[in-house]
């Protein structure tokens, strides 16, 4: 199946084509990398760090993300409560005792947010990581093998791509009576790979006829090793970007699912908090401390990931740096 390599598609969970920042890396990265490879891997890594630390977008995103990681790790130490425990008066505004106030049921919002943060990161890492792995496996296989394997895998990719991720997740999750954070992450990963597979397949397609791949094949190197040693390193920068984007996408998809009441049954999550706030009329009662923090945290984390993505794109792709 022919498609334009110039415009790999954006990740799900991101309401945009998001083609261009990724596109430029996609086109230029293999070239840029093969040039840098002459300098040796160590020198190259230093170069990436050098430019990354001077890129304001990447730094800003990194700082925000690290801030939330730290809050997620340290935050729970400052609370003795369980997330759904009734600990205080209901509808208490933020104050010295309950830092982010309490819910209608007298649950501590701060506790819910810091614990929900952990769930959010877990879902994002699991979902985004699994989607990236699956996408890589299918994309590399389809792009490198070609022929009927490619036809079948591409058809499969296009079919899963056309089925809306959330719609499929809803019916699967609704039938699961007990759901954990891990199951949620895995489910999101299982439906989140198609756009990654498509983009990686397209790039592998252009790489597999290059001389160094031919050379490796002539010297009798196995397929798996060629993909691992010759092809994957040439799009390593692109793979990093894909991982960041699918991390953010998985967080958003997770939040949607949780907001529908299909989040983990055994843990507190940010999306579930918003679901509870809306279900129990927090809006009408003006309990802003119940529904503003969870959404704000998600927005800030995902924005931070996007900023890191754009920043890293400029780092990997010298052509973008001057503009």
């Amino acid at each position: 199946m022919s498609r334009e390599i110039r415009h790999p598609e954006g990740p799900p969970g991101v309401p945009t084509t998001s083609n261009a920042p990724v596109v430029d890396a996609a086109v230029a990265a293999p070239l840029a990398d093969s040039g840098a490879a002459v300098l040796g891997p160590k020198r190259k890594r230093n170069e990436v760090v050098y430019f990354a630390l001077r890129n304001s977008k990447f730094l800003l995103g990194m700082v925000v993300l690290l801030l939330y990681v730290i809050i997620g790790i340290v935050g729970p130490r400052f609370t003795d409560h369980a997330p759904y425990e009734y600990v205080g008066p209901s509808n208490e505004a933020p104050g010295s005792e309950f830092w982010l106030g309490t819910t209608t049921f007298g649950q501590d919002v701060y506790t819910q947010v810091v614990l929900g943060l952990g769930s959010t990161f877990a879902v994002g890492l699991l979902g985004g990581g699994l989607a990236t792995l699956l996408g890589m496996a299918i994309g590399f296989t389809a792009g490198y093998r070609g022929g009927w394997i490619d036809e079948v895998l591409s058809m499969l990719t296009n079919i899963v791509l056309t089925i809306p991720q959330l719609a499929a997740l809803i019916i699967v999750a609704a039938y699961l009576q007990v759901r954990g954070v891990i199951i949620e992450g895995v489910l999101i990963g299982l439906f989140g790979w198609p756009w990654i597979a498509r983009a990686i397949r397209a790039q592998t397609f252009t790489l597999r006829t290059r001389e160094f791949v031919d050379l490796a094949r002539l010297s009798g190197v196995g397929t798996a090793k060629i993909i691992r040693r010759e092809i994957a390193p040439n799009m390593s920068s692109y793979l990093v970007l894909v991982l960041i984007l699918s991390f953010g996408g998985a967080i958003l998809t997770g939040a949607f699912l949780e907001f529908l009441g299909l989040g983990p049954t055994d843990a507190v999550t940010l999306g579930t908090m918003m679901n509870h706030a809306v279900s129990w009329s927090a809006l009408q009662l003006g309990l802003w401390w119940w529904f503003v923090p969870p959404g704000l945290v998600i927005t800030m984390i995902v924005s931070a990931l996007y900023f890191m993505n754009v920043g890293l794109d400029e780092v990997f792709n010298p052509k973008l740096r001057k503009t």
């Binding site: 199946m1 022919s2 498609r3 334009e4 110039r6 415009h7 954006g10 799900p12 969970g13 991101v14 309401p15 945009t16 084509t17 998001s18 083609n19 261009a20 920042p21 596109v23 430029d24 058809m155 296009n158 079919i159 791509l161 056309t162 089925i163 809306p164 991720q165 719609a167 499929a168 809803i170 019916i171 699967v172 609704a174 039938y175 699961l176 009576q177 756009w195 953010g248 958003l252 939040a255 949607f256 907001f259 299909l262 918003m274 706030a277 809006l283 003006g286 529904f291 503003v292 959404g295 998600i298 927005t299 800030m300 984390i301 995902v302 924005s303 996007y306 900023f307 754009v310 052509k319």
Partner: protein, 332 residues
Amino acid sequence: MRRYFGRKLLLYGLTFFVAATIDWLIPRFMPGDPVRSMLARAPQRSPAAVEAMTNYYNALFGLDVPLWQQYLNFWGSLLQGDLGVSTWLPGQPVTDILVRRIPYSLAVLLPAVLLSWWAGNRFGAFAARKRWLDNTVLPIGYILRATPEMWLGILLVWILGIQLNIFPIAGAYAFSLSPNWTSPVFLRSVFLHWLLPFASLFIVMFGGWAIGMRNLIIYEFESDYSRYLQAIGAPQRLIRRYAFRNAVLPQITGLALQLGVIVAGAVVTEIVFAYPGLGLTIYQAIINNDYFLLQGAFLFIIVGVLVANFCIDIAYVLVDPRTRTGMQGGTA
């Protein structure tokens, strides 16, 4: 061109087949028994009564015949438009409920998608050539893209609906009114109820399209034809117009690829605003464990997405002459 559409239709046919099969598979092979979980809510507790009800429901849902026959029966009734009977609104066919809800979803979705696409592209192309605009639009665009639609909806309801009391916060029209499409009071109420759900979808999508277009335009300015035109001294407006026309193509493909995300955003938005479309129906089905309704809604969404995909394919052929001559273009 025939080949192009042939391939597309084959893909859509297969997609529908796979989706319908998933729809059939999930209730039968997931852990847990939907009939039992439904009975768990029934007041009857005596074993004999539970036994009788289990048998009744198994027969009602056709679960008492071999699997292959269940699968054939499923397709048989599906092709007749029969998606089963709702358990949440007892006795009402799922198809009827969903068909009633669809106009509301479309009324919010279609204008939001088309307008945000058009306005976002225009604005993105405009921002690409103004440095100060570019420096402000880009970060705002990324933040908008990262905003979960339901949170934006929650903020809009809370600030505009409850604090400032400008907009109604639930339903498709005021509860005190009965539908009457000629009365101006009713039409005004419908419009006010429609505006916020529309706005929250529009805003998030607008940011995405604007960023996409801005990036693509810059990309096009770097390409050979732009440089050549610049070199021979063509007017800036002409170059911009050419760049825009080229950049629109991947944006059209992007629209097709984003349909799944758009659907997700619409579902959660409808819930926040209690807007009685498909999304709210799905939520009610989840709360009430109405699996038939849920599965029917899934199929409705799939069909909607496939139809939308096909419309976009046609649009692509109209916009990109290369697909008409069968040369190239048009992502398969």
